[in-house]
């Protein structure tokens, strides 16, 4: 198991290196000159002189591979450069904005896990009842409702109509209630259905029928079924966390939250290379770490996977 983890961590290095080159290269393929973008944003007429001066200022006058080498060397020491637009170190900005996005994603994940499992199991236990059918409609609603529209509806109802939970106040736990509800909606719908199906599938397996035939305690059987049916859910939740991080962009913009997604979107809009590069690398890092964690968790939870890994390692 230890060797498996080490090996997986080592595979991250070439992945990140390749991603770094692709990200850096693709941005340079863009027909937009970042020096021009900077001048346009600053409302300075882009004269030839101003463009040349800005290119030197932003370090864009050097050859491509020199720029890449400098950037790679710097990011190894966690120096992501200076934002073209905010003129602040990108790392400082990331450390400032990332916690809001992580809070948002983790809180939403928490909601998805708790309510997704509870509602999914409820639907499975009450299969074909009015509760199950209502939960089906609820899941359908969650999946088909665009999050920006749902967010606007929540703001209208809770902020304008009832006058509670104003989203545009100082950042506090209250200010997360509406954004988390908006963000978790789609994953909640998917996971509710997934838990239900997985639970029913495992419940109809021979081992469960045998346990029932042996007249074992029903709640013990349900617990066992729940445990085994959660294995595919772990994989799904791993993927959903990434989706929540991506979805956080819309929610942050809508609710005015100072998050990493909002920061990245404004950087994309202004062709702020250092920020876009840092954003891509960090997102890839988060995704590969999540994958790694899911793999480890699955190996830990499922003895069959553990056995297979051990066999492969031998």
């Amino acid at each position: 198991m230890f060797l498996f983890i080490i090996r997986r961590i080592l595979t991250l290095i070439p992945i990140l290196l390749a991603v770094s080159f692709i990200v850096f290269g693709i941005l340079r393929l863009s027909p937009i000159d970042p020096a021009f973008a900077y001048l346009t944003q600053s409302q300075i007429p882009p004269t030839q002189e101003a463009l040349e001066l800005t290119r030197i200022e932003l370090g864009l006058d050097k050859p491509f591979f020199v720029q890449y080498g400098i950037w790679l060397k710097n990011i190894l020491s966690f120096d992501f450069g200076i934002s073209y637009v905010t003129k602040r170190p990108v790392l400082d900005d990331i450390l400032y904005y990332l916690p809001t996005t992580l809070n948002l994603a983790f809180l939403s994940m928490f909601v998805v896990i708790i309510f997704g499992i509870a509602l999914g199991v409820l639907g499975a236990i009450k299969k074909d009842s009015i509760i199950d059918k209502s939960l089906g409609v609820f899941s359908f609603f969650c999946v088909s409702m665009p999050s920006f529209w749902f967010g606007f509806c929540l703001i209208y109802v809770f902020t304008i109509y009832f006058g509670i939970l104003s989203p545009y106040e100082e950042l506090s736990l209250y200010s997360y209630i509406l954004p988390v509800t908006t963000l978790s909606l789609m994953s909640l719908g998917i996971n509710t259905r997934l838990v239900r199906v997985s639970f029913l599938e495992h419940k109809s397996q021979r081992s469960t029928l045998y346990a029932l035939a042996r007249n074992l305690n029903k709640s013990t059987i349900n617990k066992k079924v729940l445990y085994t049916s959660l294995l595919p859910i772990v994989t799904s939740l791993g993927m959903h966390f990434g989706e929540l991080l991506g979805g956080a962009v819309v929610v942050e913009i809508l609710f005015g939250l100072p998050g990493f997604g909002r920061y990245a979107v404004s950087a994309i809009y202004s062709h702020d290379y250092p920020v876009i590069q840092a954003f891509m690398i960090i997102m890839v890092l988060i995704f590969v770490i999540l994958n790694l964690m899911v793999d480890i968790l699955l190996a830990y939870l499922n003895p069959q996977i553990r056995y297979q890994k051990a066999k492969n390692e031998a």
Partner: protein, 507 residues
């Protein structure tokens, strides 16, 4: 140790008592919104410094008000007969917000810092013309130019870079690499700035006019719809700025008695430009112009909010009151004009900003009308930065454009026509008389005689109008809305980014 603890407790109690006493019985705090933080608030630099905040914190030598130049830091000024020397009398009772004296030596230190970074400001004609900028005595400041420059006062009044910071806030007498703190003599002082959340301003105690507001908070809300929701929920009291409110929201809020809507005086001219290099036949350009139903566009798309435009510059601008032939909408005439050209249904690219619904709707309307006479207009959407890059490179047949507004128009704007950095240069580049136009612009900018300038403008505006490359649509305004419950009155400033929050009357 005990002493230290006791001292800290006493200090704490003292601070609490002092802050309680300083807190007004009735807090007159106003909350607004902006899409991004104000940045470092360096008066002499550009992004990330926000222009509206630079205007709030720093003052210029002269201000632009009601189409005229009035005293700012300078109480009065004199221009020499040859138009090359400007002598400013500095108000002798001025202070920065930290209590330091603002005299002509402080102004000189600022000009030294600005000119030290002159290449950054090379887009302004004035930077190139300044020969010397020095304090004659405490209250006299003299600016010597290498040749007369008509836009001197215009450019001195801009939000940046010619605004004055306390020299003690500069780093080693310079501002090009940053400032220690934003200390100006304007009506507002920056209290705090929290990234992505808010910027807070308080009135400058040394400013000559007392504000009714004790604190102004600008919340950072990037989404326009969210800003409207924040206003409706009472989270913000006032919303002003060019792109802060959509036209649709403005129209809806007009019917709501809880809010008052405001509009600035007309700013720049929103227009369409035809590229004379790619559409070299003036008759094809004329035929296109004849298919544009400006009245319909103004009525149905621009929602009759701002004033309909006939000329490239508003006629009430100095030197711009020139009678020009009007552009008409006449499909029949367009067909006839088109007959005398060699136009063979070639697609004409109309470039617009993809996420700008106004531009898209206008483009569709133009496409539809042009089709009726057999002109094939192809809509070509671009993301904003790519759009401006295409303007600069002349990569368009037709493109939306805007003049720069007060106080750039008309002098600084015509000056920009000489540099290959905008749609205007590209659009004029194919004209047969482009050298005459450029020569006229140069002579206007360097003229020292009002009659000569007026004559020059008459010829220039007539030539541009007759070249069939400009289609003025409207004179844009800056929209605003405020909550009647909290605010009694607000009046927009004269420049696009000038918001006179200090003049707000509250309930």
């Amino acid at each position: 140790m005990k002493h230290l603890a006791l001292r800290n407790i006493t200090k704490g109690i003292f601070i609490i008592i002092v802050s309680i006493n300083l807190t007004p019985l009735y807090s007159k705090e106003i909350v607004g919104a902006w899409d991004t933080n104000i940045g470092h608030l360096n008066p002499h630099l550009y992004s990330p410094n926000q222009m509206y905040a630079q205007i709030m914190v720093y003052e210029p030598l002269v201000k632009y008000e009601d189409g005229k130049f009035v005293g700012g830091i300078a109480r009065e000024w004199r221009i020499s007969n040859d138009g090359k020397t400007y002598t400013f009398k500095i108000d002798n009772n001025l202070h920065f917000s930290n209590g330091n004296r603002l005299d002509s030596y402080a102004v000189e230190a600022n000009f030294k810092a600005i000119l030290e970074n002159a290449t950054r400001h090379s887009w302004l004609g004035l930077t190139d013309k300044i020969q010397s900028a020095k304090a004659i005595d405490e209250n006299t400041f003299e600016l010597k130019l290498s040749s007369p420059y008509i836009a001197t006062l215009n450019e001195l009044s801009l939000p940046r870079p010619f605004r004055i910071i306390d020299p003690s806030s500069m780093i080693d007498g310079s501002t090009k690499d940053g400032i220690k703190s934003p200390v100006g003599s304007g009506p507002w002082v920056l209290k705090e700035s929290i990234l992505g959340i808010k910027d807070v301003f308080v009135p400058n105690p040394y400013y000559h006019k007392k504000s009714e507001i004790s604190q102004l908070t600008m919340k950072i809300i990037p989404d326009p719809n969210s800003r409207i929701l924040a206003l409706k929920s009472g989270g913000i009291d006032i919303l002003v700025g060019k792109d802060m409110i959509s036209r649709e929201s403005f129209k809806i809020l007009q019917k709501d008695t809880r809010y008052t809507l405001t509009q600035s005086i007309p700013q720049g001219t929103f227009n369409l430009v035809i590229n004379s290099k790619t559409i070299s036949d003036p008759n094809i350009r004329k035929a296109i112009i004849l298919t544009i139903n400006k009245d319909e566009i103004w009525d149905k798309i621009l929602l009759q909010i701002d004033k309909k435009a006939e000329n490239l510059f508003q006629r009430n601008l100095e030197f711009c009151d020139v009678e020009l032939s009007k552009q008409e909408f006449n499909l029949q005439k367009s067909k006839e004009v088109l007959k005398n050209t060699n136009y063979k249904n070639k697609a004409i690219r109309l470039v617009y900003i993809a996420n700008n619904p106004i531009q898209k709707s206008i483009a569709q309307s133009i496409q539809n009308e042009a089709l009726k006479v057999g002109i094939n207009i192809q809509l070509d959407s671009s993301e904003p930065i790519a759009f401006y890059q295409r303007q600069k490179n002349g990569d368009f047949d037709l493109i939306f454009n805007e003049t720069w507004g007060n106080p750039f128009d008309p002098h600084s704007f015509i000056s920009s026509m000489l540099i290959p950095s905008h749609a205007d240069y590209a659009a004029q580049d194919g004209l047969e008389n482009k050298d005459i136009i450029r020569g006229l612009i140069k002579s206007i900018l360097n003229a020292d005689n009002k009659d000569k300038i007026q004559k020059g403008y008459k010829s220039l505006l007539t030539l541009l109008n007759n070249s069939n490359i400009y289609i003025p649509l409207s004179y844009g305004v800056v929209l605003g809305v405020f909550n009647n419950k909290k605010i009694k009155s607000y009046k927009s400033g004269d420049m696009e980014y000038e918001f006179r929050f200090e003049d707000i009357k509250i309930r």
